[in-house]
Point group: C2
Chain length 355, copies 2
DNA sequence: GTAATTATTGTAAACGTTTACAGTCGTAGT
DNA sequence: ACTACGACTGTAAACGTTTACAATAATTAC
């Protein structure tokens, strides 16, 4: 009724604990706790009294204390290399769908390779900040001979999209067959008549892009096509890196008629560089992407690319995580392969007639 | 030396607490704790003994217990609407730069409007899971008359990129002047000679896009241009929604010569729909974006758009957060406006000569 | 060598919950 | 009304730290 809005009562509350509620309701703290956690074990009448006291005091359980006492957080943490990467939208959607249904909350941690040292990563996994860790990134300071996975046995780890080295095959993972997928994509380029096919990798130390490169080389070899020196360039998984790498390829004495990029981000950078160089795509040079991020269809020309079933990966990876948390560990360790799919749009055509 | 790799000692460790370390080192638990937290208050010799015991036992402090006891987590949580959104890359980079320097760890929480109920959001903010919350999303169940900000006074809240309603102006925030920015962008379209300018908004209930719409309307009015009915369409901030909205605009009896999209994502969807309709951009229709995400420059035609200083926003918002945590609350409340910038690329030109 | 001072360590309480166990109350069967 | 049983509630311990305070050891000043 007053002209100025009434003061919210939420500021500066000193901190109300379960004791105050118990006192006000005239019950023991145990009863209050039970009201919150197993309401059917307490009499209706008392429950109401307690409920009343809770709202009266504005009590909210101290999550820190609760987590400590329970020994768990009800949190699942997914670690990914970059938050702005559209590839993860679907994966996260899938993960969320299954974990929230089971009462877990999702938190995300970004690990730009630059910012995360081995120690930090180890500390994160070892700290009990979450009940489980879903790793969607590969740049970890373990595996690949860099050290053991720092699992204390308590917080399970599941890997999505990425493959770990063979020695870590006991860590459950869900991913496509990157070698085969890249092989298929290369085969498609070959089938279109391309012979001079370049490959743009990410970082050389990334298992993921190395697998894709392997598939590319296998397909080339199977088609008896040699891969010229410097046809495999490094695009750093970024737009700018890809543009730079593309310019390199354009100066190559044996200029490729097709460029197979290890992901769509780089393919977009590649398209940009080609456009800047006034080179028609796909008329003069074809471009193949990988991942089928949502922008792939929006590119001009729209990207021909390899699609991953991102939501499925998310769901499967989350399911594996829940299983691991519940202790059904043994049954499902090892890696699970989901299908990929070639998506044909506009950025690939037959090579120019001269070739 | 054996052929198979030695068994990692990390599995199934029952759980080693500070007591075991103390026992092994022959000191009290207090000393162990001090070794970890204030090493200079303990004698060199003992510190070495303890250090030894720590590695021998494989001890790692229980973060849950520590957080509980300390009453804080050393975590800062940033809440954003969608993890796959490239807009946030820069903001997060900025935030990370300043908070990590102060020893905080960043965690991210996604709040797709669909998945987050008012209760959940309130619970999250009220739970002490993080020492502070940086909100980069607007779809919150408070403000705008939906209820008070559930701040318990303990965990500060800072808002980035978004503006809250006036009644919440005590929550610190950092953002551009969205009204003015949209005004400027519209002015640019007008200066190019456009008169029939459409506007594509996000969700109608979003303060952010409403502000931009307001700027658009102001500019139109200032130029004495009327906004035809159904020239303001809803694109839902998504590619598909934008494509749909664009098709609607194409059927409009007074077809616009320019479409101003409230963000780049929608602008890209718009471009896609125009391409599908075989309409040349910008020759036949100009498209103006907003945000200058990294793909804006890669679009074909490259997007003319409004750039936000994302990293700066991140840095400022993080600084406000640290100030708030340190209790320097009063000095910096209220909103802070950072500059925007028009980025002129290819998607806007003069209207076709007939107009 | 003794006293005063400081540096280092130990003791024990506290943080706010949850939960095993014991106790009490209510109800129903006799 | 008494007993027995079940439903409900209370007591108190425990979780693993950190930290105020007390106690001891080492060092310095005489």
């Amino acid at each position: 009724m007053s002209t100025k809005p009434q003061q919210e009562r939420s500021l500066g509350t000193p901190e109300v604990s379960i004791r105050k509620v118990a006192e006000l309701a005239g019950v023991s703290i145990a009863t209050v706790s039970r009201c919150l956690n197993e309401p059917d074990r307490v009499r209706e009448k008392t429950r109401l009294k307690v409920q009343e006291a809770i709202v009266a005091t504005g009590y909210a359980p101290n999550t820190l204390a609760r987590n400590f006492r329970r020994g768990r957080t009800n949190l699942i943490m997914v670690v990914l290399p970059s938050v702005g990467d559209p590839f993860f939208t679907g994966v996260l959607e899938g993960i969320r769908r299954v974990v929230t249904q089971r009462g877990y909350t999702l938190i995300i941690s970004e690990t730009s390779a630059s910012t995360l040292s081995a120690d930090e990563m180890g500390a994160m996994l070892v700290s009990r900040q979450a009940d489980g860790f879903i790793l969607l990134a590969s740049n970890f300071p373990f595996g690949e001979g860099a050290g053991p996975v720092p699992s204390r046995g308590a917080q399970p780890i599941v890997i999505g999209c990425e493959t770990m080295s063979a020695s870590l095959s006991d860590v459950p993972s869900v991913h496509i067959d990157n070698v085969q997928a890249a092989h298929d994509a290369t085969d498609y380029l070959l089938a279109q008549g391309h012979r001079r096919i370049a490959f743009m990798t990410g970082q050389v130390d990334s298992r993921l892009t190395r697998d894709r490169e392997r598939g590319y080389r296998q397909a080339m070899e199977a088609a008896s096509q040699s891969v010229a020196a410097d046809w495999v360039v490094e695009g750093g998984l970024s737009l700018e890196g890809a543009a730079r790498a593309t310019r390199l390829l354009l100066e190559h004495p044996l200029r490729p008629t097709a460029i197979f990029c290890a992901n769509d981000e780089m393919a977009m950078g590649c398209l940009q560089a080609l456009k800047a160089a006034r080179i028609e795509v796909p008329a003069a040079i074809s471009v193949m992407g990988f991942d089928d991020i949502r922008y792939a269809a929006v590119c001009n020309p729209a990207l021909t690319t390899v699609a991953q079933p991102t939501e499925l990966i998310g769901e499967r990876v989350a399911q594996r995580m829940l299983d691991a948390i519940d202790g059904h560990a043994g049954e499902g360790s090892g890696s699970e392969v989901v299908p990929h799919r070639l998506v044909i749009r506009e950025s690939v055509s037959k090579p120019p007639s001269g070739d």
